[in-house]
């Protein structure tokens, strides 16, 4: 049973509970029993594909929800100064307690109309150039940068190619790797490919429990390696794309726990936790020198890779 079937089942039981009289003890008891079962056991052993489904859940909180809840006085800044304002990327200045930070994020929409506006969270080159501009601005004013990652990937379109999609992403990777302020990335939903990494070359990477991060969508991976995009579920298992996988590989620093059923069931639970963790992080990172920070960041990425020596 997939995660969405479980959600439907739970909704059905809850609706039924609302319908029936509380006098009907036996049935209430029975339904509540079922409900507990679905809410706990069903979520205990999730497949990699369940994680993919939750990470892409339409009701999952989006970057703007996090920003609005966690930070004070967020002032959104627009545009790349070159071509356009890409709404797949939002960014600006915000406060957390008494600390001023720059926040940059992929933005997905909650409705179809919103999604069309922000291109389903798939940036064009102007989006990445806005990222670059805001990061350099943060560096100038010595503000830590916090990014929220949630994208299926950079937009694969003709115009995106014409305006240098690859170049725009590459610039983000290069500049972020050497940005002279503390940087932290939080994967809140989908971390799709280079389009996600462009916001993710940070001192620390945190992931929500059901967020995913991958070289390509499982569908894309399956279509390349199995020549069959419909084998995405199988691909998801092979790809090792869950937060737990990355924690075990040592690629991320922290997993943010989600409520039973995923962040959308109780967003505030995630927001509050994250807010506390961010406050801790910002007060600790103040004590680290820029030189140490940069050396550590370089080492973090420098050490990723699995290889051997051929002795033949």
């Amino acid at each position: 049973m997939g995660i969405l079937d479980i959600e439907t089942k739970i909704a059905e039981i809850e609706a039924r509970l609302d319908e029936i009289s509380i006098e009907n003890h036996a049935e209430v008891e029975e339904l509540q029993q079922q409900l507990r079962l679905y809410k706990t056991r069903a979520y205990e052993h999730l497949s990699a594909w369940d994680h993919v489904t939750l990470a892409r859940h339409p009701k999952r909180p989006k970057a703007r929800d996090y920003i609005d809840y966690i930070f004070d006085s967020f002032i959104e800044l627009h545009g790349d100064r070159l071509y356009a304002d890409d709404e797949a990327i939002i960014g600006g200045i915000a406060k957390l307690g008494n600390k001023v930070i720059t926040v940059i994020a992929h933005q997905k929409g909650n409705t179809t109309a919103e999604n069309i506006k922000c291109n389903f969270g798939m940036p064009h080159p102007e989006g990445y150039r806005k990222v670059l501009r805001l990061m350099k601005q943060a560096e100038k004013f010595n503000r830590p940068v916090i990014t929220f990652i949630d994208t299926p990937g950079a937009y694969p379109g003709a115009e995106a190619e014409e305006r240098g999609q690859g170049h725009a992403i590459a610039q983000c990777l290069k500049e972020m790797s050497s940005l002279k302020v503390p940087t932290l990335s939080i994967v809140i939903g989908e971390g799709g490919s280079g389009g996600a990494l462009a916001l993710g070359v940070s001192d620390q990477i945190w992931m929500l429990q059901y967020a995913i991060y991958s070289i390509l969508s499982p569908e894309g991976f399956a279509s390349i390696l199995y020549k069959d995009g419909s084998r995405a579920k199988e691909a998801a298992e092979v790809m090792k794309l869950t937060a737990q996988d990355y924690l075990e590989m040592g690629m991320i620093e922290k997993v943010i726990k989600e409520p039973v059923g995923g962040a959308h069931q109780f967003p505030q639970y995630v927001f509050d936790q994250l807010k506390t963790d961010l406050e801790d992080y910002l007060s600790q990172v103040k004590k680290v020198s820029t030189k140490q920070l940069l050396a550590k960041r370089y080492r973090k990425y420098r050490s990723i890779g699995k290889y051997d020596y051929n002795h033949r």
Binding site: A154, P156, G157, A158, A160, E161, E162, R163, G164, Q165, G166, H167, I169, A170, Q171, L173, K174, E175, S177, S178, S193, G194, L197, A198, G200, V201, Y213, S214, I215, L216, G220, F221, I224, L225, V238, M239, K240, L241, Y246, M249, M251, R297, Y298, Y301, R302, I304, G305, K306, Y307, D308, Y309, N310, H311
Partner: protein, 280 residues
């Protein structure tokens, strides 16, 4: 990224390395002219009739660019592991090592070009479409680090379908690793010339390949981020023939210059000479 290049009609090549080497005559994939194989080979794998540039192995490329006998290879023994335990990956790599007589999709080392010392890396599209996994990322990074510490200009001849799917996130992170190393080379005021050859796509385009101080593309090379097929599927329409070619990129302002293979060595040599003593 990593959408292995779906070659467009014009640059289609069914010719494998073996076909070109073993037959006596071959038909140009572009203009259909019948050419003696030896002539094609001695003409740097460029059709003498229409100027079509075939893909080139790293070894041949090396010989066409550096002073004879000057190349000292580094890190040649690095080989891939199978971090995701992807079925058949080790066997595939072993087969390619055998056929290509190299351990991975990039060859790196120190060489001289017209007497000028450079750190040079050459990718080989015959080795799993030049895709970047841990070893390609590591070798390129080590080369960049050597260039930085020895204050050498860096020349990378790119040819890659993108990040290597079989190594999953490890491949993706090589983009960050190589770009971070480029940042240090850049901060040292050193010259980096990136040469984009057929094909340069996906995660390689979106990392070190487009971070050069000077971006040179070889004539006719397909260069881009997303694969042509993927874009056509997204847009549900076909793209013009010259889309994502070197010439198209120059027209869009994305690269510095397009050169033919015959002029490449001279161009690189001249550019290096013009930057002599520029390091901080």
């Amino acid at each position: 990224m990593g959408f292995f290049l779906q070659r467009q009609k014009k640059v289609k090549s069914a010719t494998t390395k073996r076909d070109v080497n073993e037959g006596i005559y071959t038909k140009c994939e572009s203009c259909k002219e019948v050419l003696p194989v030896r002539e094609l080979s001695s003409n740097l794998e460029v059709c003498s009739n229409c100027g079509y540039h075939y893909r080139m192995s790293a070894t041949k490329r090396l010989n066409s660019l550096v002073d004879m006998g000057s190349f000292k290879e580094i890190n040649a023994r690095l080989v891939s592991l199978n971090p995701l335990k992807f079925p058949g990956y080790e066997q595939k790599i072993e087969g390619l090592m055998e056929v290509n007589q190299m351990n991975e999709a990039v060859m790196t080392g120190i060489a001289k070009i017209d007497g000028q010392t450079v750190a040079i890396g050459i990718m080989d599209s015959y080795f799993m479409m030049g895709s970047m996994g841990s070893v390609v990322g590591e070798k390129v990074t080590r080369l960049i680090e050597v260039a930085t510490s020895r204050k050498l200009p860096l020349v990378l001849i790119c040819a890659s379908g993108g990040a290597r799917m079989q190594e999953g996130i490890y491949s993706l992170m090589q983009m960050a690793k190589t770009s971070a190393a480029i940042a240090k080379h850049h901060q040292a005021g050193l010259l980096y010339i990136s040469v984009l050859t057929q094909p340069t796509m996906g995660g390689v385009t979106a990392s070190f390949a487009t971070l050069g101080d000077i971006l040179i593309a070889e004539k006719g090379a397909a260069i881009g981020f997303a694969g042509r097929r993927v874009i056509e599927q997204t847009l549900k329409q076909s793209l013009p023939d010259h889309f994502q070619t070197a010439e198209f990129l120059q027209e869009k302002g994305l690269i510095d210059l397009v050169v033919s293979r015959h002029r490449l060595k001279q161009m690189i040599s001249q550019l290096i000479a013009l930057h002599e003593g520029s390091e901080r």
